[in-house]
Every structure is written in structure tokens, then in C-alpha cells.
Symmetry: C2
Subunit: 188 residues, 2 copies
Amino acid sequence: MPRVSDDRLAARRREILDGARHCFAEYGYDGATVKRLEEATALSRGAIFHHFKDKEALFLALAREDAERMADVAAEEGLVQVMRDMLARPKDFDWLGTRLEIVRKIRSDPAFAHAWAAHNDDLEAVTLARLERKRKDGSLRKDVPTEVLVTYLDLVLDGLITRLATGQSTDDLHAVLDLVEASVRAAE
Amino acid sequence: MPRVSDDRLAARRREILDGARHCFAEYGYDGATVKRLEEATALSRGAIFHHFKDKEALFLALAREDAERMADVAAEEGLVQVMRDMLARPKDFDWLGTRLEIVRKIRSDPAFAHAWAAHNDDLEAVTLARLERKRKDGSLRKDVPTEVLVTYLDLVLDGLITRLATGQSTDDLHAVLDLVEASVRAAE
């Protein structure tokens, strides 16, 4: 049997992640059964769990991908831009509703909570670094500590995820994000 | 058999709601089985479902109580005060994490989504009315439509619920709420 190349393995891993993302978006965390993950990825459970230890590992790998993508945008363009991207392409963030369903798991499973918090910490760290740069160049408001502004933006992001996940109207949200952006800026 | 008085019925209903609230807080929506609801209320399923058609009706009755209590505070003191109350007494709002778990139900069950949205609409309506009053007396910022400010406050509330439900640090949240409050006020 020929050895499977690294490229092939990476491509397979990619297929699994993409299929699983759709599966979680459609059925939720609990609803994404092994059978449905097989259907969504068109792969056997053996193939899937060769790449990922279990469903939890698969979920956390997707969360990591998101966190990295969001951190890249947040580092360059800020956390508000991350939110604008969500508004512009809600379908891409469809599966984020799953984040809400795992709240109980976060509270009851310390190892999972730890892995989960690590992702959020990364995003907070790049946001903090970006705001510190803005503070130095004078474009950030001076009367509120940077940490508070990070928590504020993080809170708005969580609210946005809830709003998108529950399918509420997004009509006013662009204007809301303008307001949020203005409220961290230095007064003109 | 003597007729059960209205007072007794109301007291019984109260017992069920209080017990169920603790049960949902501890086990989540799906985890709050009939057996656990019986234990939490110290009543039989017959007694419980004499008062509430099913678990969903019980959950919605609790959500209605919250919405009414929050609307009262929001009407008099504003939505930010509702959030300050949450920060001051997080235990009282313990069960709100359940709101996140039902996201999927909201998306997949139109009747449930409708009942759920009605609660949020009430809270939005009183918040809107209060902000309109503040606009008239000149204490509200003038450059952003009132509807946008309501959506903004609603978004922050959702974010706060996520933050409390996932047990994240609340250290900076008082300062965040000061910022939120200032960002809807007219510039001084």
C-alpha cells in the first residue's frame, strides 16, 4: 500500500472540518451525531476519528480555526471589523450558534472550559495589543482603561453572536457597530 | 373534598415556578427532566402539569416572569440598571444560561420562537418608550436613532448573559456598563 502523502492527509483533514462545520450548524452540538458527521463529511467514522480523537476534539478544532481567523482580522482591523464580517456573511458564521449550546458543557467540564478559554484569550490578547497601539497614536479614548474597552468589545461580540444565532433582525446592527466603534475612539 | 382556594392555587403555582427555576439553572433545559422537576418542586408530575401544560409552558412562564421584572426596572431606571442588577445578584439570574441552550429550539420551533419573541418585544417596547422620554428631556444623544440605541442596549444585555452564563470574570463589567451608559447619553 502506498504511503498517504502529507498533502492528502491535510486535504482529508480539511474535508472533515468543512463537513463537520456544516453538521454542527445544522444539528447543533448534541444533534451532530457520529452518523450525521459521517453523512456530512462523506467519510466513515474510522476515517473521521483517525484525524480527531472525538467529537469534542473536532468541535474545538473548528473553534480554534475561527479564533485564529478572527484574531488575524482583529489584529489588523480590529474586533469591530470581525463583527462587520459576521454581519456581511452570516452564513459563514452559521455554526457559531453552537457556541451558545455548549455553555453548560463549559460550566461542568473543566478540561473543555480550559481549552475553550484558551481560544478566547488569544482573541483578547490581539485586541488588547491593537488597542494599546491605538492608545499610543492617540486615537483611543483616554478616560477608560484599555482592559475595560477589550471587555466591552468582547461583550458586544457575544451579544452579536446571540442575535445572529437566534435569527433576530440585523437591520440596525450596522449602525450599532458604528456606535460601538465611535465609543472606543478618542473624542474629535 | 373541600375546594382548593385561589390562594392555595397561587401558592402552589409559585412553589412550582421557584423549584423549576432552580432545576433549569442546575441541569439546563434538556437536563431538567420530569423526574428532576418533581424533586426540585417536591411535587408529583400530576400536580406540576395540572398548572403547566408541559415543560415548555413552564419554561416560558419563567421567561415571562423575568421579562416582566426586567421590563419594570427598565421602564423606571433603564436597561443598564437591569444589567447592574444582574451583576449585583448573579445567583438570581443563574438560570438565564438556559436562554442560550434554547437557541436551537428558537430556530427550529416557530410557535416557541413566537412566544419567546413576545417577551423580548415587551422589554424592547418599554426601553424604547423610556429612551423617547429621555430624548425629549434632552439627556439622550441626538445623532443616533432611538431604535438603534435600543438594539445596542439589547445586544449588550445578550452579551452580558453569555458572559455570566459561561462563568467568565465580571471584574471589568461595572466599568463596561458605565461606558455603555455614557455612550447613549447626550455629550455634556
